[in-house]
């Protein structure tokens, strides 16, 4: 068997419970070499648990998983030699300096002392941390800490890298830096599995996405394949202030394939057929009804829409909130309606608290 024939990561029927709570409920995954594989789901979907099982930190109750052909339970040592893990919160010694952390983790990753120092220096330069290398990590900002944490995961040259919500809690600029690094790593041949609850993040980074909910995969494919599942286009119309709301709804309804939702500021949203001319038809109908339009936009379904279509969460609620809350496609918009903590339970101090 050659390396290319074995998937980088494969999981079959993984089950993991924490007391009564089922975190993984028959999870299947298959990640090819060199992919950026996105695991997308709300808090509590089982993303963190999945990563912890694949990274040998948790033992599944049933099912099995292999990373680079090695079983995560029976050959955990072999797996650990070849993976890197960056969790939701920085796994660093806050009292030590950035450089000391990297050297320590390098030594524990089986590098020689000279090699650990050399790699540490290189990674500090590459992640723009050279100036802060001699400072204790507790003085770092959230973004710096994340970068150092990622550097720590890379010091042992992992072939497979797990990133558990790598940008949660980061400001947009730090997030963009993180995205660049992730793309760079993939270009260099590292296989990446990243979990995220940011739809646009999965959309922009991942070549393959698994949508998980309730501890199992509910859809899988490329971002475009998933979007195709959500079907029709979405229109959003904002009538000028003082317009006749009922007339506006009637005009949009005439061309919509489903109910028209009225959101904040009188904004109307609805699904419309994905065909040319739908926008002009809508504008004409609104004009005939005497509605002046402040803005109108028709767009392809986003991954938010896919998610809502697949899980049913929030969709049935109808008028207003879910569709209005999700779907604008802004950077970093979270899935609407999920605020609970992830099942795996470790509290995640989120990046921002720089000292």
């Amino acid at each position: 068997m050659t390396v290319a024939e074995i998937p980088a990561i494969e999981a079959e029927g993984l089950i993991k419970k924490f007391g009564q709570a089922v975190a993984l409920d028959g999870l299947d995954l298959r990640v090819q070499h060199g992919d950026i594989f996105g695991v997308l789901g709300p808090n509590g979907a089982g993303k963190t648990t999945a990563v912890r099982v694949l990274a040998t930190l948790l033992r599944p109750e049933a099912g099995h998983a292999r990373v680079l052909g090695a079983d995560v339970v029976a050959q955990a040592g072999e797996v650990r030699r070849r993976i890197g893990l960056t969790g939701q919160y920085a796994a660093l010694d806050n009292s030590l300096t950035g450089r000391a952390n990297l050297v320590m983790i390098g030594r524990l990753s089986r590098l020689t002392r000279a090699e650990a120092w050399r790699r540490a220096g290189k990674l500090l330069d590459r992640f723009d941390l050279a100036d802060a290398a001699g400072r204790a990590v507790k003085t770092y900002s959230g973004g710096m800490r994340r970068r150092l944490d990622l550097a720590a995961s890379l010091i042992g040259r992992p072939e497979v890298l797990f990133l558990d919500e790598p940008t949660t809690g980061l400001d947009p600029q730090s997030r963009a830096v993180m995205w660049d690094i992730i793309r760079e790593l993939a270009a260099a041949g590292t296989t990446l599995l990243l979990t995220t609850q940011y739809l646009d993040e999965a959309d922009r980074l991942a070549s393959q996405i698994a949508v998980i909910d309730g501890g199992r995969v509910i859809a899988e494919g490329t971002p475009d394949e998933l979007k195709a599942k959500a079907g029709e286009d979405r229109v959003s119309v904002t009538p000028a202030p003082g317009s006749d709301a009922a007339a506006a709804v009637a005009a949009v309804s005439a061309h919509a394939t489903g109910p028209v939702a009225v959101g904040a500021g009188g904004r109307l949203t609805a699904q419309v057929p994905a065909r040319d001319g739908v926008t002009t038809d809508l504008v004409r109908a609104l004009d005939l009804a005497g509605i002046r339009v402040t803005s109108i936009a028709v767009r392809r379904p986003s991954l938010d829409d896919v998610f809502l279509t697949l899980t049913g969460h929030g969709v049935a609620a109808g008028v207003g909130q879910p569709r209005a809350a999700a779907g604008s496609g802004e950077t970093g918009q979270r899935l609407a309606g999920w605020d609970e903590d992830d099942g795996a339970g470790v509290a995640a101090p989120q990046g921002g608290e720089a000292a």
């Binding site: 040998t56 930190l57 524990l108 470790v346």
Partner: protein, 281 residues
């Protein structure tokens, strides 16, 4: 490059290599703990400020009221007692540090690395041994300042230091176990104090056991801290009222220290590793 595609190396070199890596990992983590101390020296207070405070309190506040059966200087008597307490006094700190490690992300990092599992614990106790050595030296210097002296040869004195440090090392594994079963740093701090103080005080460390109620004398005479104190006093040539006590550990304190240390290590070291392994799953 995987073991799945190539025949496995013979078992013996593999095992040796694993042992070598375990030693390296333990040394790296010992270095980590020491580097932390260098950056945060206030964590050394439990083996520096605390013993000095106890020596001064007992020498000058309580000492005048304590008479020694068989006579002799209380100041000289006190230092041997302080050795056991001062050296083992790092154990509650060990529990606190491990609880903190366990509740922070760093332990997940260690678990995802191809490193030896026991190294986290061995590294910690290794650095404890060095802080205990610092503690012993601080007590010795404080002792010299208040009139303590070594009356036997240097060899005997070093044996006293060695016994105290051996006991301290063994005792820090009890601290490791405490750190493995507790969940919060606050609990570790409080429980460490609550357990440690009576354990050291119900002994001959500060007062001769002869004045205690009968049943408490039995407890105190068999307390390992009494054995450490008596052994140090004998080896330093300081007043040792426990020589008049007929309990076996007081007649053979050096052997008792060796025995207690062996028992502590045999019980708490495997238990600590077991608790740590169980926590990872």
């Amino acid at each position: 490059m995987t073991s799945a595609t190539f025949p496995q190396a013979p078992a013996r070199p593999r095992r040796w290599r694993a042992l070598r890596w375990a030693v390296t990992d333990s040394l790296v983590l010992t270095w980590r703990s020491l580097a932390r101390i260098v950056r945060e020296p206030e964590t050394l207070m439990d083996v520096t400020v605390q013993p000095v405070m106890f020596v001064l309190l007992f020498a000058f506040v309580f000492g005048g009221a304590i008479g020694l059966p068989g006579g002799g200087s209380y100041h000289e008597y006190l230092i041997g007692g302080m050795f056991g307490m001062g050296v083992a006094g790092s154990a509650p700190g060990t529990a606190v540090a491990l609880v903190a490690d366990m509740s922070e992300g760093i332990i997940d990092r260690f678990r995802s690395l191809p490193m030896s599992r026991a190294a986290v614990l061995i590294g910690r106790t290794g650095s404890d041994l060095l802080t205990q050595l610092i503690g012993a030296l601080v007590i010795a210097v404080t002792g010299l300042a208040i009139g303590w002296q070594i009356h036997n040869g240097l060899g005997d004195a070093l044996a006293g230091f060695g016994l105290a440090l051996l006991f301290g090392y063994a005792f820090s594994w009890a601290g490791v176990c405490l750190g493995m079963v507790l969940r919060s740093v606050e609990a570790a701090q409080q429980l460490g104090f609550i357990l440690f103080l009576p354990l050291t005080f119900i002994s001959n460390a500060f007062v001769p056991t002869q004045g205690m109620p009968g049943w408490l004398q039995v407890v105190a005479n068999w307390n390992p801290f009494s054995a450490v104190a008596a052994a140090c006093r004998r080896l330093f040539g300081n007043p040792d009222p426990s020589a008049l006590v007929h309990a076996w550990p007081m007649q053979h304190p050096e052997l008792a220290v060796l025995g207690w240390s062996a028992v502590l290590l045999a019980v708490f070291a495997p238990l600590a590793v077991h608790l740590y392994a169980r926590k990872s799953r």
